[in-house]
Assembly symmetry: C2
Homo-oligomer: 340 residues x 2
């Protein structure tokens, strides 16, 4: 069975030096001669020694690990973002614990406890239902929130310019001669609020009624499964088609939602983009698998990933980097494809 993992002690004995020396050689700190270095390294290689992360972590009071908290790995926007962040962190020498909360606050709390117990050195929190409450952690570690507002300014916030994104989307829909409607899920989030505001402001600026009648929210039951979601969407489309002249324009606040709209439309033989124009948000991988390919607002996940990790890493390492650009919102752009 489980052959005993070789420890630094045995390396020390085998190479005829003390553990301290071995440790110094491994971490290349303190002083030692070239001869011993070679001797020790040889033994290490020969024995396939790997340093025990728990012992090291215990001693150093850090784990070289960061936690990522994400609502749903099956959402292609999140998956994309997580993958990029994880890649960045890997390159920087950190390992990552990915926690899929399934939007369950209980599960989220459980994960936070676990991450804390594991002494993660930092935390990246992506989206989520409400404000991120730092009180949940008892120990202070650097945290960055992506598209989720923290409850204290000690936590770094990084996010796209949702307001501008909504402006772009709305303008696009208006200039396509539609009377746009905004479509969102049941869940509130800070970024949704920005988007709705951008949408409504743009409406007003164009002298269109900016009341709440044109923002449509799915209910919680409706969005439960793909099927309920789609039938709700069909109902919404039906109403829209009777109430106003085609083409109608829908600004869906996420690409997945937009994708569902398209599916619903197909099943009703509504043709896109002639009778229905749809614009999504995210430019998630799925956007390119929609038919027609989805016109959408692109969030720059590369940029977000880079900013999040580089900030986090320097915060962990105690550098209070004063890069001013890091406080600006991440820019957003319209990508024209075939649904408008």
């Amino acid at each position: 069975m489980a052959q005993k993992q070789v420890s630094i002690r045995e390396i020390a004995e085998l190479s005829g030096v003390s553990v301290a020396t071995v440790s110094r050689v491994i971490n290349n700190n303190g002083r030692f001669s070239e001869t011993t270095r070679q001797k020790v390294m040889a033994v290490i290689r020969e024995q396939g020694y790997e340093t025990n992360a728990m012992a090291k972590g215990l001693r150093m009071r850090k784990s070289n690990t960061v936690g990522i908290v994400v609502p749903d790995l099956n959402n292609s926007f999140f998956a994309d973002l997580v993958e990029k962040i994880e890649q960045q962190l890997f390159e920087t020498g950190y390992s990552t614990i990915i926690c899929d909360t399934a939007r369950d606050p209980y599960k989220e709390a459980g994960y936070l406890k676990m991450l804390e117990a594991k002494l993660v050195d930092g935390l990246i929190v992506i989206s989520g239902l409400k404000e991120f409450d730092s009180q949940q952690l008892s120990r202070h570690v650097p945290i960055v929130c992506i598209d989720r507002k923290p409850n204290t300014n000690k936590i770094k916030y990084i996010g796209s310019d949702h307001y501008k994104g909504a402006q772009l989307a709305t303008e696009k829909l208006i200039s396509a001669k539609t009377n746009p409607v905004l479509l969102a899920g049941s869940r509130d989030s800070p970024s949704l609020i920005d988007r709705i505001k951008g949408y409504q402001d743009t409406l007003s600026k164009n002298e269109l009624p900016a009341d709440n009648t044109s923002v449509i929210r799915l209910t919680e039951e409706e969005e439960q499964t793909p099927d309920t979601r789609r039938s709700a969407l069909r109902e919404i489309l039906r109403k829209l088609m009777t109430k106003s002249q085609p083409p109608i324009g829908i600004f869906a606040v996420s690409d997945t939602l937009a994708a569902d709209v398209l599916i619903a439309a197909h099943s009703m033989f509504i043709s896109v983009p002639s009778d229905l124009k749809v614009i999504g948000f995210d430019d998630a991988p799925i956007a390119r698998y929609c038919y027609p390919e989805l016109t959408t607002i692109r969030q720059n996940t590369d940029e977000i990933a880079v900013r999040a990790t580089s900030y986090l890493v320097s915060a962990i390492q105690g550098k209070t980097e004063q890069n001013s650009s890091i406080n600006k919102l991440v820019d957003v752009s319209l990508v024209n494809r075939s649904t408008v």
Copy 2:
């Protein structure tokens, strides 16, 4: 800053008992009186004490953590599977380190070292380029491979019945009066081999030529980006359309590939399913976002996730559970949607 994490020692002092007693209370083992239990628990709650996982791990020589190695989180089949496994493990009290290797053997090796250093208690390896080589680990831990053959029978293999899936797909295509073609990516994998075999055997059984001319593989460059992939696919479709009478039938060995085929077809104004019939594999979330919705072979990810975790957990806990069903391949089924 970082307020000191309270340790078991302080809990002990505050409640006027020894650390050993506190430890006993926390883990509910050994003997202690109800009075002390309450006293200690009160202090623990009051102080927000959380046991230090590294210290515990060091002492116990285990981490309550399992690693998941996955080629690509952006593939909706993998994301789905990982999400389910992770959920299972969370419920069982294990935490999960998800490692996205991006199909890079170097990255994979790096991750394995890291997982080992972190003393993971078990490992789940999903798919991947070639045999999984257990030699990469120097310490023995329970491992389960999903859709990836291990190089030793000490490692548990779990996988769908790919052969049968291919049969079902091929028969479906044949009975839809097409002369089926199999379409695959450049990468070989054990499951692909099974699928090709199932495909060819079914061809033979129906007295159709089962040579290799009807299996089409994308080259590595072709599948690099969505765009190269799609233009390669358009080229393939073009050839197919000239060479034989519509309708043509394509058995794509994954849903993502099938989705790309559909996109390519749309851009060429080939109508599905009248002129082109496509059947995918996996029944990944994306299948329902294709247009038309994708007919495909369903892999039962729930079942796979349950088997993988329940086997792994019992192996970790030293139970050599003799559930015979666990050695059978996971069953697979045809789901009829709209592309055939």
